[in-house]
Amino acid sequence: MSDPRAIVAGHGAFAEGMLSAIEQITGRSDVFLGVTNSDLSTRDVEQLMRKRIEASGAQVVFTDLPAGSCTMAARRIQRDRPDVSVVTGVNLAALLDFVFGSDAGAADAVQHAAKKGREALAVTGVPRGA
């Protein structure tokens, strides 16, 4: 076990759900810290996220939606913390890749995880009536 290396932030129980899935698949609950924006103002989301980043030393923030208030908060934090990377539109595949890839260094791991996340999004079959 080690210090968390990234924040997962999103709407509702998005982060909680992702962290639960990661724990089930990998047994690792030490890589990420979760943040939810539920019922919080933009300012409060930013304060909460900033606290988590400073307390953990995490330099990566994964968020669920480009327009979401978590993404806005993370981008505001980047103004005085340009060493923090923000990845929006994250999915489970990307986070799982980061779990195993981030030991070597966050910079490469972020790019690799984003690539894996994009590759994992696929459509099979054709809905009836299409």
Binding site: D39, L40, S41, P66, A67, G68, S69, M72, R79
Partner: protein, 163 residues
């Protein structure tokens, strides 16, 4: 078409606005009325980043929005006007006399405010401002997302809150 919703939301552009309302209303433009954001290129870039490429965002100072409102209302596309606080919306209503409905989408906890709904917290002064809007004939209701029931102002302020 034209402006479908006049919303007060201290998070300004975020998921509920862009996706939650944006999809069902087929929003093609957002008018963000906020003096601070309208004065900051950086803030504008931040909000524009979160919006799909086929959706326009107009950043107006309050005075500009007063001047431009009629044009936005006559736009053939579907749009949403957004302010971050009650003061700004009240100024728009007073100066134009052309806003008949106001949606409370998110006014969050701050010292001195009392919780009225999960997503609406108000000071006594803010309650007074909203009541004054209603007395001038503006229909004020709280509704965070389209699938939720709109809660009329009187119902929301009835009782001691904390619901």
């Amino acid at each position: 078409m034209a402006l479908e919703l006049y919303r007060i939301d201290d998070r300004l552009i975020h998921g509920q606005v862009v996706v939650g309302w944006g999809q069902p209303l087929d929003l093609r433009f957002i008018v963000l009325v906020d003096d601070e954001v309208a004065s900051s290129d950086w803030e504008q870039e931040l909000y524009r980043m979160g919006v799909p490429a086929d959706m326009d965002v107009y950043f107006d100072h309050v005075d500009d929005a007063v001047h431009n409102l009629e044009r936005y209302q006559q736009d053939s596309r579907s749009g949403l006007l957004l302010t971050g606080d009650i003061d700004t919306m009240t100024r728009l209503v007073d100066a134009t006399g052309a806003i008949g409905n106001v949606n409370l989408g998110g006014i969050h906890h701050r010292q001195g405010r009392t919780q009225r709904l999960r997503y609406v917290f108000l000071t006594r002064d803010e309650e007074g401002q909203l009541r004054a809007l209603a007395e001038r004939g503006v229909s004020v209701s709280a509704q965070d997302v389209p699938a939720a029931r709109p809660i009329p102002l009187a119902e929301m302020l009835d009782g001691e809150g904390h619901r």
